[in-house]
């Protein structure tokens, strides 16, 4: 029993995920799904609110990020999460099958 086998497998799958371009495709899909569900708009509103509260002068990306992050993450629609998860697990399953063969 090789304790590192799992680790290596995980690495291999992640590598395939990246190399095949699947990661970028999934990222594109995520972006368009979030936009369709109005999430992007919502986050934009949150950012604007943050800017109004803090003032645009001397405001850094980090400050907006820390303000907005929690709520933005919470507002990601479950539908989108499910879909993404399905796609990724599909991919992993396919990769593992090919490997084990």
């Amino acid at each position: 029993i090789d304790p590192m086998a799992d680790e290596r497998l995980k690495e291999a799958v992640e590598m395939a995920f990246l190399a095949s371009g699947e990661r970028e495709r999934v990222r594109d899909l995520l972006e368009s799904r979030l936009r369709e569900h109005g999430w992007q708009f919502l986050v934009k509103q949150l950012c604007k609110e943050c800017i109004n509260n803090r003032g645009i002068e001397q405001l850094s990306f980090e400050e907006i990020y820390t303000d907005v992050r929690a709520e933005a993450r919470a507002k990601v629609p479950d539908e989108v999460k499910r879909e993404l998860l399905a796609i990724i697990s599909n991919f992993v399953r396919k990769e593992l099958q090919i490997d084990e063969m």
Binding site: G21, L29, G38, W39, E62
Partner: protein, 823 residues
Amino acid sequence: MRLIEPLLLGLAVFAEIVLSGRDFYKILGVSRNANANQIKKAYRKLAKELHPDKHHGDDSAHEKFQDLGAAYETLSDKEKRAIYDRSGEEGVNKMGNGGGGHDPFSSFFGDFFGGGGGERDERVPRGADVVVDLWVSLEELYSGHFVEVKRKKAVYKAASGTRQCNCRHEMRTEQMGMGRFQMYQVKVCDECPNVKLAQETRTLEVEVESGAEDGDEQVFVGEGEPHVDGEPGDLKFRVRTQKHPRFERKGDDLYTNVTVSLQDALVGFSMEIDHLDGHKVQIVREKVTWPGARIKKKEEGMPSKEDSNTKGSLFIIFDVQFPKGEISQIQKDAIMEILQQQDVNPVIYNGYRPNYKYDALLSHLVFPSDPTRTFKKRAFQLCADCDEDESSAKGTGVLISVCLSCPTFHCLTHLLPHLRDAKHAFALSLETGYIYCLRCGDFVYDRLMEVTRMEALNKLRSNLGLSVLSSWNPSDEDLSRLARSKSSDGAVIRPRSINYTGPVRGLVNMGNTCFMNCILQSLLHSPSLRDFFLSHHHRCNNVPPTSCLVCEMQNAFQFFYNANNRHSFVPHTMLHTVWTRSSLTGYSQHDAHEFFITAIEMLHKDSRSEEAFKSPTLNHASRDCKCIIDQLFTGQLQSDLFCLSCGNISTKVDPCWDISLNLPQGERELSLERCLEGYVCSEVLDSSFPCSRCRSEGLQKQLSFLKTPVICVLHLKRFEHDTHLRKKMTTRVTFAEKLDMSPYTTSCRKQPKLFDGKNGSAAHINRRSFEYTLFAVVQHEGSLDSGHYTAFVRSNNTWYLCDDERIRTVPVEKVRELSRRRM
């Protein structure tokens, strides 16, 4: 007599203590010894503000304007001004030089009245317009200037006798007997008084406003080429900027270059720059000035056109001149002693390609051509200070960046502290490629860097077979326009009318294409479709792109809503596309509904192929498709089958794009709501459909709308296919402008089922109630074989009748009372 008058008036002045007339200088707001130019400028400015067209019904404004006119009339004329100075307004009046009220103005006012003077009648022939480039210097543009232009033009003057005018050719037909006709052309002319051309010289004054832009035009109405039968054209002066030896203008900003000596560059200096109107701009530098250094002097640019009190900025770019000739060894030693740069090594790099370093970083770390290499570097990068790494299951805010001075990795929170402590200036974000700057304490954005970044990103994407991202960058023209259009509340772009209120345009019939025209008109007036197509959402990936119906639609929308063009247009390319890809070919009449369905399907198919290109992992069941057609037109129809015997309910949901309503026979008139009722009411199926569970007969089928589409298309089936005859039903169906679909939806017909959907997820999507508002009606007149389609469309609360290329407004009542035979 003239000589005597002033003397008499002179006596009168002594008698008066206070001038009984108006103070013209005060009215114009100029000093008593203002020169002619200043007076003109003052008058021009005030005339614009006080023009009666701007103050309707305000009598005091009218009076002020008249005062202004009188003031200018007096003060612009040398003689009159002299008299006024001596004896006031009365003196001027007594001069008896009345009348002539408009002559001093007309050389000026061409554009005033011409601009406000209403539309030119298309039918009156006009002479040609003359456009003259007026070259002005920056100084003139800075302070404003008046240019006198002598124009020699030909004018039609009355002469004796008559001439022929308005000549045209007409066709006459003559009967030759025996049923034969001959057509021939005849030249028919009117008679009008004779005119002849004479030369006239006029002096015009062109005002160059301060802050005017290259390309600004001043129009003198009627001063262009004359036309023998009609009105003369216009004379337009176009401002052209001469090149200036010291300054360059960009929008409201000015740019200049200054070369200083090496000594000044190192030790600091102070200097003056002569500005365009002669005033001096002070520049003081205490710190080191390097070649390419820029400083900005606010309010020293060009005045803006609207508000001559605000100006743009003056940018000064420095260059350093190095001493030529020999430097003695003693001097060299002294310099080395001062500068102490013995340990600084030369940096060798490729300066030919801009941003080579940045590009190298990006292609290795962030957007690599060989993903496996970067993966080894990127994966499991832990922040040096916290144990957060990119693939942390908790996902507690990562954004790992690498410090560019010492190769350590940091998450966002720890990045700035590290840079500060280690005094390292920059870091690179591994996911996005943006540069983080210590001094700014933030990611920075630079246009040139962004170009490099996008190039690297797109290289990766095209290697992976993904679509390439494009970003829009404003062109120089856009930038100058943006710079100019600053409005008073700080907004950069003035909004144009948000609601399109122009008249609807007609569509030319290309041979029995009225069916297409009507559907097209209806689609063109749907606000959601319009918003989609006018915002260029469609990126065409179809092969060949010329037969993509979505592209055709987009072109149609763009063309149709082009405010510059009001004529009817010919949708021939769209017709061709539909012809080549469907069965709706030929010149015969087709069914509008059939066309609608075909068009919808084609648009859906063409949109879907774009979706497929974007993300091949997407499941293409039609329920998941998010193309614009599905978003707007697709509803879901639920069909429930109740079995009365065993109680089994089998449900099936199908997508639907329109609702075809049968018209029950035997009724003369009924409402649309009743038709819909009939559509969704329960129907007992006959024995050919037994229950799947208990096999008994007598299933009850009920339709309901699980999801109603955003745009609801109702089709009244008027053509009845009887055994031998096909006749058109003339049942009158009444409808109102609002339709409530809630009684026909699943949620109302069955137990209250919580109807989720797109309703609550995001604030900006309108809460979809089930109330629909009518915006188009397509009507068919005539019989089955030969008939004509017309459409009624609504554009912002005005209804129009579209009969191919003929558009007429109709009052809303007429739409309501239509004996509707909608197909």
